[in-house]
Assembly symmetry: C2
Homo-oligomer: 319 residues x 2
Amino acid sequence: MVAQIVDKGMVAVEKSLRQVIDSDIDTLHDASHHIIESGGKRIRPRLTLLAYLAAGGDRPETVVDLAAAIEMVHTATLVHDDINDHSLTRRGKVTVHARWGRTFALLTGDYLFTKVYELMAPYGAPYNVIMAEACVKLVEGETLQAVAAKAGQMDREIYKTIIARKTASLFEAGAYMGALLAGADDQMATALHDFGHNLGLAFQIMDDILDIIGDPEVTGKPVGLDVAKGMGVMMAQNGNKRPAGQPVATAVADVSTEIERDGVTEMLARLRDSGAVEVARQQAQEVASRARTALYRVPASPARDALEDLIDMVMEREQ
Amino acid sequence: MVAQIVDKGMVAVEKSLRQVIDSDIDTLHDASHHIIESGGKRIRPRLTLLAYLAAGGDRPETVVDLAAAIEMVHTATLVHDDINDHSLTRRGKVTVHARWGRTFALLTGDYLFTKVYELMAPYGAPYNVIMAEACVKLVEGETLQAVAAKAGQMDREIYKTIIARKTASLFEAGAYMGALLAGADDQMATALHDFGHNLGLAFQIMDDILDIIGDPEVTGKPVGLDVAKGMGVMMAQNGNKRPAGQPVATAVADVSTEIERDGVTEMLARLRDSGAVEVARQQAQEVASRARTALYRVPASPARDALEDLIDMVMEREQ
């Protein structure tokens, strides 16, 4: 029953995503459809929809555009990320950047961001305030990551701040707004917010692990992409059992600032041997367990079970 | 009296603009303050504020964040434009792109855009819908310009569409929302919308003229910047008295697609000799006159007089 509602909801989310990006400017139309239709896990809108249902919402059609907006923020940042990372493939397809060039990729990212705004506008003030805050945090997290990568400085605390802002912010905002829209009281909305936050952290740590040990054929993007930006250094640091807050081991920091692929290959090997991946996986399990605890503050229901399944999906994902 | 209210309002707009961009991420903080504090004419927030007053609004403090949001959209697009144009100076200062590099300029533009969202969120649905639409049009206009420049195809109709979307959209949205916030009826809100629209068109045509004949010492940016992207071709075409909708004269189109500065210098000379500037100025006078006519549908008041002064400011500006 819930599975059917979710399936139907996710179909509606896809429809919303595709309709809102239609444009009479061919380039924007084509580039936007290219990235939106390249797939992706859609975990953020699924979380938003399920949070709405778990909080007792019974008109899922009202949460569709909100869920689509959450995915749209994520998609807009992907397009801009790919410019900054010079990435050629994303989700197994050519990036907007690689196909349409930098100028149009920049404009396409901006365009998708205006579409977030368009999807959200009808929801009114509280939702727009929450969404705006999430977007601010997200850009701050991305910037902090770029700053840390450029400086070759990354420690466990900085890493935590980065993933909380750049990834967990959107997860928690989606879950929280879904709950609010269902009329959840403070307690339940906060529980779902906390669930989203910790699920987002787990998702990002697993994402960074996949960047080291993932199969590019399965993940659809080159391995070592984020390691090159210094994200993997946190894991190396954990593997080296360095105290939090202290600059990373110089040897690792040195390779982490090398953007060249040669350096990346060497660093990946070093990371795999360091035991860092196991430590990172343990951290992911910790936050996943916090997500589970938060969920127990929500009344039992098939939707809550489906939210719990999201944890497994995140922890077991291979792409 | 109105002058004092406007002065006070514009001081509050500046304060709002500066406060909202504060961040604990130094790079975002510094780059945002750099561009926001580099000045600019602030014609968009002034228009928004004056439209509010002309429509009978008597609590100008309520329109301050709205006016700031309008300027913030403009500022965000400037930062991204400068990336795409490889511009080194803006408002007589180094661009964010030139000083912080492309990655941080892209993120700073995104950050400023999230701040639009933050400033607008409390205003609720109708305002956010109008603002979202304006932002979509703006990005579409920018894209259309890039497409036309790349293809070396620019005619009078395309030019009109571009400036209506990329420039007039924000002017009209600011004036319209200012009027709505003051409680204007449909008739008055529409009159101020139309005023903003035509003022925006006049502003952009004059801007493109300044790109050809302006003094870089006064404008604070290099001459021939937009001509290189093909905008000036519309004027050349008018100077050549070619019918609207027809591709531009090959000779002009050829130089217009040359981004190199040498080609630009030659093209500028050609444009100045072609009489195109005079034709463009005539077009600006036409839309300025339409702006004036729209204004006469608004009851006479000192604020309306101040709006009329904006027309003169646009038509006589040298920077």
